[in-house]
Assembly symmetry: C3
Homo-oligomer: 397 residues x 3
């Protein structure tokens, strides 16, 4: 049996009924079956494409992308996912189109969606805003659809918000699953999601939040480590605790990078800004207090600089399980001596993991495509089988 | 019989021979049959898509868009129309590509058109320029085609010029036709195309000009109302007069919003700049007189501010036919208390018409697609029938 | 037999095995068979499209474009080529995505390539950088492919670098082949690749370098003419000399435009910057010496201005073979009295050659498509035959 066919069989056993016609905001909104289904569909689509079988489920249609921050990786991942499924991507560039909040969001969301099957949004800059904005867009198009304005309801895919970064965390996890030879091998593995020093400030919290919110579902021992003052959102801590209890793993918080790294199977050292500081920054922006923002930036950089020892060095890697923990990063990393003088990771460590890091990132287009697929296709297992049976070549000659 | 098949029968009776290979600049260039054909094809394509039947008439090919002003709605309408028909949209961004006038226009038009089936242009900023620019582009590619440089002649679709806004006015009218249950029910209906107050200035005249130039063709009583000094182009007034005479309707100009609204079946309150001021502004720009432009802007805003009572309030709506006139707007509207302190329309009126307004806008992609279709397909009725018979699914699963 | 079938027969006799899976950097990296194959495939694809036969060899997939300089013509040529073959173009806009050198180039190249079949790069601004950058990108994706990160290896197409402009020179040459009725008629023809005056400075050298590097392969007498100080890269001169020897033609350098034009069958008068000045400029940029750059610019413009007699006038055209040399230009040209006061070519000359110039440019999309085709298709002749036999219409109705 082909790999895709095998996956289709697994997929058929999962309850994915609620995903049809629905959005993807946060991984913890989704059941274990639904999370498993995303991984299954991602693997199946990849297998089909690797065997030159077309994954198009659309003859035409649009994918709308909204990036409220610069982005190469996510932009191309979304474009790749849409292209794989047969959709054409149009960017809603705010510079070009002056989208704003409230009434305008509702209106614009409908105006761009007449032929749209999916809307992907990245909005991670301001605490309390990103997720809310995505919800507003989703509500607007659901209203538009139910009142007959739109012929199809575009599904919303969260390409990063202030709370979660589901496409990243799920790509990271699918990489882990592949590296460890299956989800059944993850129980009891130790994961260190740790802060790391960066000479820049204001990096989003959605990566660590997304990772602890997802990785705790697989019976692993997840340690979140950071210097004092670099707390993440309370709600996400609560999610991680609940998940760990339910999955038979554990979740703990440490203030020592060494403690987190010791005997870890997986390390994810990555900089982020303190939640409290990001909240303050959001308020300063809303108040238009540019002086305050400058002062805060200076303060935060100084605070960061007192923790330059939080770097993923060879010494730190040596204390992980057999000195060979799987090193994860969402990229781009601040590599000491390469992209900055002193940063998140030593260049020799980064170099050793370059290929696995690129492979980690390679899952993202498939994760996004799987999210769209499950929102658009009523019988996911049947459709995977149909795509395989159809055997339409992706490259024709 | 399916709706599409029924429409195809109506379409077969219309003389559309001159549309094949031709451009769409102004609605009043087109015969009644041709206007009816655009509506018919738009309805047919919509019916096909709503029934998940592919409307692709191209396997590959490009649609070129040129936006000499920011635009979300029109940009996405054009992209949707092209995608529906199987074309990929490429934006000719003047920031990126330094298009200029004269020789350069002729050259660039050909350089981007080697695979282009359609060029959509929005150029509404300067009086005497937009339409002229579109004609120059069209002449250039017709020359390119007839001299064998281009393998196909891209059809030009006017996405808004200084004179007309045919895709908007026709989307508005198709909405009206649907709301009134057919074009045969429009005779004798009263339409109020009125100026409304806006705190911004320089809004294009092509919307009111396009509306009076088109709506007068259907035997309706069209009133154009505006404060003194807000005249539109003389030529468009002439067109409206001629149309009204021919269609058995009427066209009049009023300086009272109340007079226009009284017993109106349809109201279209919308701000625009005085034609004379726009002409002056164009000359100031051509002369590079930035001081003059600033002074003119100040003057125009002050002039606007003396007419803040031109607002579509509940009181005004109450005097329309049974208090229930169909409220039209091309969006975005200046909504009092929402997008501005005081604007074109009261928020309670806007709220009540939000869904119909979104539906009004939803016709635009189909109108644009119909214009392209009729320029590209030799036997429109036959092709509609063929698309229905082919029954290729738009969404494959 | 159809033209495409005839071309397929010629193509079958050429050794193109090394093109499969390979990049296209410089024409002089390629064998005569490979160059002939690009021309053959370009002609075949054009014949197919002109006969409304789809040239799609992809059902889905991406073409990535990187333009490190503004560009309309090349941008649309690349988009047209990709669309013709079934690929969707995504621009890697550096403003949007902050691509940089070294580590970042390697990483970004992989991050955007998960679904990419081709990467087209234009990077012609700085001496010693463009070609190097393209090589770095190519190395990165070849590594990504061989280590299993990428499922397909995108082929790199040089859309202009600091050394060569192969898509331009080959489009120019294919135009020449068509104008002279076949490559077999080129032996002994005289080509004048000459400098011409322009009021702007810093025009890239890759056009003259590309032309002398390619045109010398066909047994023609190629003269490179320029004022003292406007030398091109030594390596390219060496390539031209070697080619001329091998092809039985000649290559010479002259400091007289008249000498070059006299009895020429083909003239290509076009401005460029001195190589030494471009090298100096690159160093000033690298040192961030803005004052130095300004001073250099002033100096170069003054130097240019001493050679305003290097203009392609009617008088100059009159001394060419029968006064009727084929005039070539990569466009846009600096036309005296049109786009500038005094420039590269008299407007009456330009006007007379406008249609041929547009036709010359029309070969570029096909040249690019042919380069992609030959890198992606294992049996080019067989695939051309298969596309013809499949007879899938490009325009469906």
């Amino acid at each position: 049996m082909s790999k895709a066919a095998e996956i289709a069989n697994r997929l058929a056993a999962l309850d994915t009924g609620n995903m049809f016609g629905n959005d993807f905001f946060l991984t913890w909104d989704k059941t274990d079956d639904e999370i498993a289904a995303v991984f299954a569909v991602a693997d199946a689509l990849r297998d089909l494409r690797e065997n030159n079988k077309s994954c198009r489920i659309f003859d035409s249609g649009l994918g709308i992308s909204v990036f409220r921050d610069n982005s190469t990786r996510t932009r191309f991942s979304f474009a790749s996912a849409c292209n794989l499924l047969g959709l054409d991507v149009r960017d809603l560039d705010e510079g070009k189109s002056q989208i704003a909040h409230g009434e305008t969001v509702r209106e614009t969301a409908n105006m761009v969606s007449y032929m749209a099957d999916v809307i992907g949004i990245r909005d991670d800059m301001y605490i309390g805003c990103g997720h809310t904005y995505q919800k507003t867009v989703s509500d607007a198009v659901h209203d538009g659809y139910s009142s007959g304005v739109l012929e199809q309801c575009p599904t919303l895919v969260n390409l990063q918000c202030d709370i979660d970064h589901p496409t990243q965390a799920m790509a990271d996890m699918l990489h882990v699953i592949h590296e460890f030879g299956g989800v059944e091998n993850l129980k009891g593995k130790k994961v260190a999601m740790t802060w790391a020093y960066s000479p820049s400030y204001g990096k989003p919290l959605s990566v660590p939040q997304g990772v602890i919110g997802l990785f705790t579902r697989f019976g692993m021992d997840v340690v979140l480590a950071h210097p004092e003052g670099y707390d993440v959102m309370d709600d996400c801590i609560e999610v991680a605790r609940r998940n760990a209890r339910a999955s038979g793993g554990s979740f703990s918080i440490s203030s020592s990078m060494d403690e987190a790294f010791r005997d870890a199977d997986i390390v994810y050292p990555k900089s982020w800004a303190p939640f409290a500081a990001m909240e303050k920054r959001t308020k300063l922006y809303q108040a238009g207090d540019l002086e305050g923002i400058k002062a805060l930036e200076k303060e935060l950089l100084a605070q960061n600089a007192t923790h330059m020892d939080w770097e993923c060095t060879e010494e730190k890697m040596a204390i992980t399980k057999a000195g060979k923990a799987l090193y994860l990063h969402c990229l781009p990393a601040d590599i000491s001596g390469v992209s900055c003088e002193s940063g998140e990771v030593a260049s020799s460590v980064f170099d050793r993991y370059r290929v696995p890091l690129y492979r980690e990132a390679s899952f993202k287009p498939y994760i996004i495509a799987a999210m769209i697929f499950l929102a658009k296709v009523k019988e996911p297992a049947g459709t995977i089988r149909a795509l395989e049976a159809a055997n339409r070549p992706r490259k024709l000659f």
